[in-house]
Amino acid sequence: MYLPDFDYYAPESLAEATALLVELGPAAKPLAGGTDILVKMKNGLASPSALVSLKNLTELRDIRWEPGRGLVIGALATHNQIRDSEVVQQHFLSISQAAHQLANNQIRNRGTIGGNLVNAIPSADLPPILIALGASVTMVGPDGARTVPLESFFTGPSCCVIEPEGEILTEIVIPEQDTTGSTYIKFGLRKSGALAVVGVATAVTMDGDVIRKARICLGAVYKVPVLAEEAAKVIEGKTWSDELLEQAGRTAVGCCLPISDIRGSDEYRRDLVRVFTRRALKRAITQGHV
């Protein structure tokens, strides 16, 4: 296999990078970990005229807690960096766990959270948990920075709101919040290196046994990661029980439109949404951020 020819740039600053991308036009692409775009290029699904490497933008690798803002993850943080980060584990172990379930160890050492989001495949493992926790993303372009909630970031398979001319994803913020538990359950057909057949993330705010607030995000069952709001409504304000969560699971099935492919039929995926919504809710309710 080979990569089609392209020009290569490694700018030293974010400003330089965005300027370069504007100058080179939309056929140039930013290069983060490369674990997605290089595969696409080898498979003939992408042939950028230039790759603008972000490797020198070390400030975008940072992971930190900012009081008042929350958990800030630089877009170039690798999956293993997120998995191993004490700050992440301390505040949202569920994000660390989700990062650990992604691809395999070698890919996690290269692949970045920003790349994972911008690549926008419907089965991606990080979006469900980040959306469930209300994350927002910041992009910097020639016209400055803008921030959008992650739930409105994705527009379709491999499509997101990022502007092709010069915009670069810079950070992901998971706000300070009163959620008491969150989790991501991935169902893949192998225990490593598998895409999710179904992924379900939940975040709940409990008041004793009463579910005050819940967010349920489903992955791999629609063209974008999708919030199962109707399912959350079924349980909010109620005392949790297995029967109630089963009800939420069944309602969540109405919030997805999975396809049938080599990883599973739509019927199977729907039933898995029911099962894993129930299980993910119970886990977040009873075990906290895991």
Partner: protein
């Protein structure tokens, strides 16, 4: 980065990379992958190609200490980095304890996954000298082996970690 264009207008770039402690400066096209730089330019063929898509881990090398698939890293991205390949694991002709343990525990069959396996295991033991069996399995789960069922590979890594094998 400075580049020189060839007759067809395709640019060449200079990569400075340290491999197994030795400094190399190599002129490459942008599309040159680290695995090709190592195999074709530096003749370190211990780094294998198995799938070229990051599925099998045969081309695993340590890039600044971390295991990565050399088939998914541009040579240019390794500019200024430190790379360890399987040829850099034994020191002065003395096998590393992992290498010895793989030999002693019948963890090698065809040997094609072995370089990548050893490097993934090496990175694990550097980070976590006394791993549990599930940790060992997780650390090598990006390295496929078609011969061993991983049974003796896991055993070999555990034995190396427990000090049963001395280098």
């Amino acid at each position: 980065m400075q580049a020189i264009a060839d007759k067809q207008g395709v640019k060449r770039y200079l990569v400075d990379v340290t491999v197994n402690g030795d400094d190399y400066s190599v002129v490459v096209k942008a599309n040159t992958l680290l695995v090709n730089l190592l195999r074709d330019e530096i003749d370190l063929t211990g780094t294998k190609k198995g799938c070229e898509l990051g599925d099998c881990g045969s081309c695993t090398v340590l890039l600044d200490g971390k295991p990565v698939d050399a088939c998914l890293v541009l040579a240019l991205e390794a500019d200024g980095c430190d790379v360890i390949t399987i040829e850099g694991v034994a020191q002065h002709g003395e096998l590393d304890k992992l290498q010895r343990s793989f030999a002693d525990n019948a963890a090698i069959q065809c040997g094609y996954c072995t370089p990548g396996m050893i490097l993934s295991a090496k990175a694990l033991l550097t980070r976590n000298p006394k791993p549990t069996e599930p940790e060992v399995r997780a650390a090598i789960s990006g390295n496929l082996c078609r011969c061993t069922g991983y049974v003796n590979i896991v055993k070999a890594v555990m034995a190396a970690a427990s000090g049963e094998v001395t280098a």
